[in-house]
C-alpha cells in the first residue's frame, strides 16, 4: 500500500470514465478501468488494485452485486459513485459492504481526498493490543481475532473498531466517528457509521441483533464495552 495508489474504476459511461481517469491520474493515482461489473471483477483478480471506485448503475450486474461479490473474498476498500444522496442507493450500497460513497458529479479533488482517507484506514498507528471478551485487537499486526480465529475486516471496519477500542466504555457520537474514521467534514452522513457498525457487529458479535460489545447509546452514538 505504499507508493502510488492503484485504483480500479468501474463505470459504464465512457465520458465519465475517461474524465475520472484523467482527473484521478492527475491527482497521482494509477488507474485501471472497466466498463462493466463482470470486467471489473475479472480485472480485480488479475491486477489486485488497492481500492475500487464503483458506479452503482451498471449494465449487467449492478454495483451492489459487484460489491457483494467482492466482499465474499476481498476486504479491499470500495467507494461507491452514486447519483442521489437521499436515495435508497446509499443505504443498499453501504449494506453491500461499501466503505464510502461520493455523489455525482464529483470533483476529482474530493474523490481523491476520500480515496486517501480510506487508504489511510489500513495504516498501523500503534503497536499495542487490546482484548474485549473474545475479541483481541492486535494493533501492530492490524488484525482482529475472535476466540483465536482471524476475522476478515475491511480497513474501515478495522479503523472503526480501533477508534472505539481506544476509548472503551466511552460513547462516541456519529459525527465524531465520521471525523475520526472517515475524515469527513462536519456534514458527514451518519448512515456510513450505522452501516459500518452493522457490518462490524455481524462479524464480531455472537448475536448481532443483541450486541454486547458495540452498544448503541441513544441520542449519542456508539460505545465499545467489555462484556461482563
Amino acid at each position: 500500500m505504499s507508493g502510488v495508489p492503484f485504483l480500479l474504476l468501474i463505470e459504464d459511461d465512457d465520458a465519465i470514465r475517461t474524465g475520472l481517469e484523467l482527473g484521478l491520474s492527475r491527482q497521482g493515482h494509477r488507474v485501471v478501468s472497466a466498463a462493466t461489473g463482470e470486467d471489473g471483477l475479472r480485472l480485480l483478480k488479475e491486477q489486485r488494485p488497492d481500492l475500487i471506485v464503483l458506479d452503482v448503475m451498471l449494465p449487467g450486474i449492478d454495483g451492489f452485486e459487484v460489491c457483494r461479490r467482492i466482499r465474499r473474498t476481498d476486504q479491499l476498500p470500495i467507494i461507491l459513485l452514486t447519483a442521489r444522496s437521499d436515495d435508497i442507493d446509499v443505504v443498499v450500497g453501504l449494506e453491500s459492504g461499501a466503505d464510502d460513497y461520493v455523489i455525482k458529479p464529483v470533483q476529482p479533488r474530493v474523490l481523491d481526498a476520500r480515496i486517501r482517507a480510506v487508504l489511510r484506514r489500513g495504516e498501523r498507528d500503534s503497536t499495542d493490543s487490546a482484548a474485549f471478551g473474545p475479541i483481541v485487537i492486535d494493533r501492530s499486526a492490524m488484525t482482529v481475532t475472535k476466540d483465536g480465529q482471524d476475522l476478515q475486516l475491511t480497513p474501515t471496519e478495522l479503523r472503526l473498531l480501533l477508534e472505539l477500542s481506544r476509548r472503551p466504555g466511552q460513547a462516541l457520537s456519529r459525527q465524531q466517528l465520521l471525523r475520526l474514521v472517515w475524515e469527513h467534514d462536519y456534514l458527514g452522513d451518519s448512515r456510513l457509521v450505522d452501516a459500518c457498525v452493522q457490518r462490524l457487529r455481524a462479524k464480531i458479535e455472537d448475536v448481532p441483533s443483541s450486541p454486547t460489545l458495540i452498544r448503541t447509546v441513544r441520542g449519542v452514538g456508539y460505545r465499545l464495552d467489555t462484556p461482563q
Binding site: 465519465i16 437521499d86 455525482k104 458529479p105 476529482p108 466511552q170 457520537s173 465524531q176 451518519s190 449519542v220
Partner: protein, 576 residues
C-alpha cells in the same frame, strides 16, 4: 392546527348544528307556515260556513215549531174567550196556552170595566215589560189584509244573558193580544258545542297541516341537505363525491347536474395534476440526465484549472470561465434535484443530535463568513435534526442577508418552550410546497424515544421545545409588497438584478427544509431597519429517528452514563 382557524371552524360547525327548524329563514319553516296558513284558511271558512248554516237551521226549526204551536194554541184558546173577558179568564187562558216547560205567555185584553188586563202565565219570568217596544208597535199596527189569520211578529232578544224568542200577535176581530217568550238556551248549548267541535277540527287540521308540511319539507329538504353536504365535501377536496340519483323530479335533475359538475371538476383536476406531475417528472429526469455529462466535465475541470496558469493568456480566461460556470451549473443541478425531491415528497430526514451553535459556526466557517457575521449562540444547545439540512437553511439565510442586506449581519440562537401545537405555522410563507405539507402536518407526537431513561432533556438542555435562530441584517429591509413572496421560487425582489449569484431557489429550499423538520421560517422587517428571518425548529422532530431505531439494542440500563459521556465528548471536538 393553528390558533386562529379553530374558532372560525367551531362557529361554522355550530351554525351547521342548529337544526333547520330553528332558523327563521329556513325553507322548512316557510313551508310549514304556508301549509298552516292554507289549512287555517280552509278550516276556518269551512267551519264558519258550517256553523252559520247549522245555526240558521237549528234556530229556524226551533222558532217555527214554537211559533206554530203558539199560533195554534192562541187561536184555539182566544176563540173560547168572551169578547170582553175578565182578568181571571185571561189568566186561565194564558196558563192554558203557555206552560212552564214550553214557553211563557202574556195575554192582554180590555176587561168588561174597560180597563186593560195583562194576564201572564208566570209573572216571575215573563211580563209585558220584557216585550221590546218595537215588537209591541208591530203587533199593534192594524192589518190591512182581511184574511182571518192574524199576523204573528217575532224577535230574538237576550234577557239577563240568556237568548229568548219573543213573539206576539193580536187575535183578529178585537180579540186579545198575546205574547210568548221561549228560551233558546238549549239551542244555544247545541250551537256552542258545535262551535267547539268545529274549533277543535280546525286545530286538528292545522296540526295535520304542520305535520304534512314537515313531512313534505323533509322529503324535499333531505335531498337538498345531501346536496349541500356533497357540495361541501367537494369543496374540501373530495372530488370523488357523488350523489345517488333517484326519481325524475327537479331534485334528481339537480343531483345529476351536481354529479356531472363534480365529474368534470375531478377530471380537470386529475388532468392538471397529471400535467403537473409530468412536468415535475420532466424536471427530475432532466436534472438527472444532466448529471452524466456534468460528471464527465467536472472530472476534468480540476485538470483544466491546474493547467490554466500555463496556458496562452488568451485561452486561460476561457478555461477559467468554463471551470467556474461548470461549478455553477453543478450547484444549480444539485439545487434542482433538491427541489424535485421536495416536490415528489421523497425528501427524507437523516437526524442526528448536534450542538446547534457548533453547527452554525461550522456552516459559517466553511463559507468564510465568520468575520462578517456577528454570532450570538450559546453552546450546549442540543437538537435532533438533519445537520445537512440545517446547513442548507443557515447557508441560504446568512448568504441572503450578506448579499441583499447590509452589514452587520447578526445571527442569534435561543431556545423557547414548545409553542401551542403548531401555532407558529400560522404565519407560514406562501411557498408552502407539497413536501412541506406532508412533513409539517404529519402527526405531532414528538416522543421519539419513549422510555423514561431516554429523555435527554434535563442535563443536556435539549428537552422538548424549539430552537429559534434569527438572522438579521441592517440593509434597507424587504419592501412590503415583496414580503409575501420572498420564499417563492425564482422570485427576485429586484427585477433589474436579472442575473444574481443565487439560483433563486435558496429561500424556497430553506423553507422546505424547515418544514420537513416540522419547523418554519418567517420573514419580517425589524422596527430598527433591516430584514429579520426567523427560523424555528423543534428540538426533537416528530418523525422517527431512523438512525436510532435501526439498531436499538437497549441501553436503558445505563442511560445516565451514556448521556454524560456523549455531550461531554462532543462539544470540545467542535465542528471543525
Amino acid at each position: 392546527m393553528t390558533d386562529a382557524p379553530p374558532p372560525a371552524g367551531g362557529a361554522h360547525g355550530l351554525r351547521r348544528r342548529v337544526p333547520g327548524l330553528l332558523r327563521l329563514s329556513s325553507l322548512r319553516l316557510r313551508l310549514v307556515a304556508v301549509f298552516a296558513l292554507v289549512a287555517l284558511t280552509a278550516a276556518v271558512s269551512v267551519s264558519g260556513i258550517a256553523y252559520w248554516l247549522n245555526r240558521d237551521a237549528v234556530l229556524t226549526r226551533a222558532q217555527n215549531s214554537a211559533l206554530n204551536d203558539f199560533r195554534d194554541s192562541l187561536q184555539r184558546n182566544a176563540a173560547s174567550l168572551p169578547v170582553q173577558p175578565t182578568c181571571a179568564s185571561l189568566n186561565n187562558a194564558a196558563n192554558r196556552i203557555g206552560g212552564p216547560d214550553t214557553y211563557q205567555v202574556v195575554l192582554i185584553d180590555t176587561t168588561p170595566d174597560n180597563s186593560p188586563c195583562a194576564a201572564t202565565s208566570n209573572r216571575d219570568v215573563f211580563t209585558l215589560d220584557d216585550v221590546p217596544a218595537s215588537l209591541q208597535r208591530a203587533v199593534n199596527t192594524p192589518h190591512s189584509k182581511d184574511d182571518n189569520r192574524y199576523h204573528l211578529h217575532w224577535e230574538r232578544i237576550s234577557l239577563q244573558g240568556h237568548p229568548y224568542l219573543v213573539a206576539g200577535a193580536r187575535v183578529n176581530d178585537g180579540g186579545p193580544t198575546g205574547y210568548m217568550l221561549k228560551s233558546l238556551d238549549a239551542e244555544r248549548k247545541d250551537l256552542n258545542s258545535l262551535a267547539w267541535s268545529l274549533g277543535i277540527a280546525t286545530l286538528l287540521a292545522l296540526i295535520g297541516a304542520a305535520l304534512l308540511a314537515q313531512a313534505a319539507g323533509s322529503t324535499v329538504l333531505r335531498p337538498v341537505r345531501r346536496l349541500g353536504e356533497a357540495a361541501q365535501r367537494l369543496g374540501e377536496g373530495h372530488l370523488d363525491t357523488r350523489l345517488k340519483v333517484s326519481g325524475t323530479d327537479e331534485l334528481a335533475d339537480l343531483s345529476r347536474t351536481f354529479n356531472s359538475a363534480a365529474e368534470a371538476l375531478e377530471q380537470r383536476v386529475a388532468e392538471l395534476s397529471a400535467r403537473e406531475a409530468a412536468s415535475r417528472r420532466f424536471v427530475a429526469d432532466m436534472s438527472h440526465e444532466l448529471r452524466t455529462p456534468l460528471t464527465a466535465i467536472t472530472a476534468v475541470t480540476d485538470v483544466l484549472e491546474d493547467e490554466a496558469e500555463a496556458l496562452d493568456p488568451m485561452i486561460a480566461p476561457a478555461v477559467r470561465l468554463v471551470v467556474n460556470e461548470t461549478r455553477r451549473l453543478n450547484e444549480l443541478v444539485e439545487t434542482l434535484m433538491e427541489v424535485t425531491r421536495f416536490d415528489a415528497g421523497t425528501a427524507k430526514l437523516r437526524v442526528d443530535e448536534v450542538d446547534v451553535a457548533d453547527m452554525i459556526m461550522a456552516c459559517m466557517d466553511a463559507r468564510a463568513w465568520l468575520d462578517s457575521v456577528e454570532l450570538d449562540a450559546p453552546r450546549g444547545l442540543l437538537a435532533t435534526l438533519d445537520p445537512r439540512r440545517l446547513d442548507v437553511i443557515m447557508a441560504n439565510l446568512i448568504g441572503n442577508a450578506l448579499k441583499h442586506g447590509g452589514s452587520p449581519v447578526r445571527v442569534s440562537l435561543r431556545k423557547e418552550a414548545a409553542p401551542p401545537a403548531g401555532a407558529h405555522r400560522a404565519g407560514t410563507g406562501a411557498a408552502e410546497a407539497p413536501a412541506g405539507h406532508g412533513a409539517g402536518h404529519e402527526g405531532t407526537g414528538r416522543d421519539r424515544d419513549g422510555g423514561p431513561g431516554d429523555d435527554a432533556g434535563g442535563d443536556t438542555g435539549a428537552g422538548d421545545g424549539e430552537i429559534v435562530i434569527e438572522v438579521s441584517d441592517h440593509g434597507p429591509g424587504i419592501p412590503e409588497e415583496v414580503l409575501p413572496h420572498v420564499f417563492d421560487r425564482f422570485y427576485k425582489a429586484d427585477a433589474s438584478r436579472a442575473r444574481s449569484e443565487g439560483s433563486g431557489l435558496g429561500l424556497s429550499i430553506a423553507l422546505e427544509n424547515a418544514h420537513i423538520h416540522g419547523g418554519d421560517i418567517t420573514a419580517a422587517n425589524s422596527p430598527s431597519g433591516g430584514a429579520v428571518f426567523t427560523l424555528r425548529l423543534p428540538v426533537r422532530p416528530h418523525e422517527d429517528d431512523t438512525a436510532d431505531t435501526a439498531d436499538a439494542d437497549g441501553t436503558s440500563g445505563r442511560p445516565s452514563e451514556g448521556r454524560s459521556d456523549g455531550p461531554g465528548n462532543g462539544t470540545p471536538g467542535g465542528a471543525r
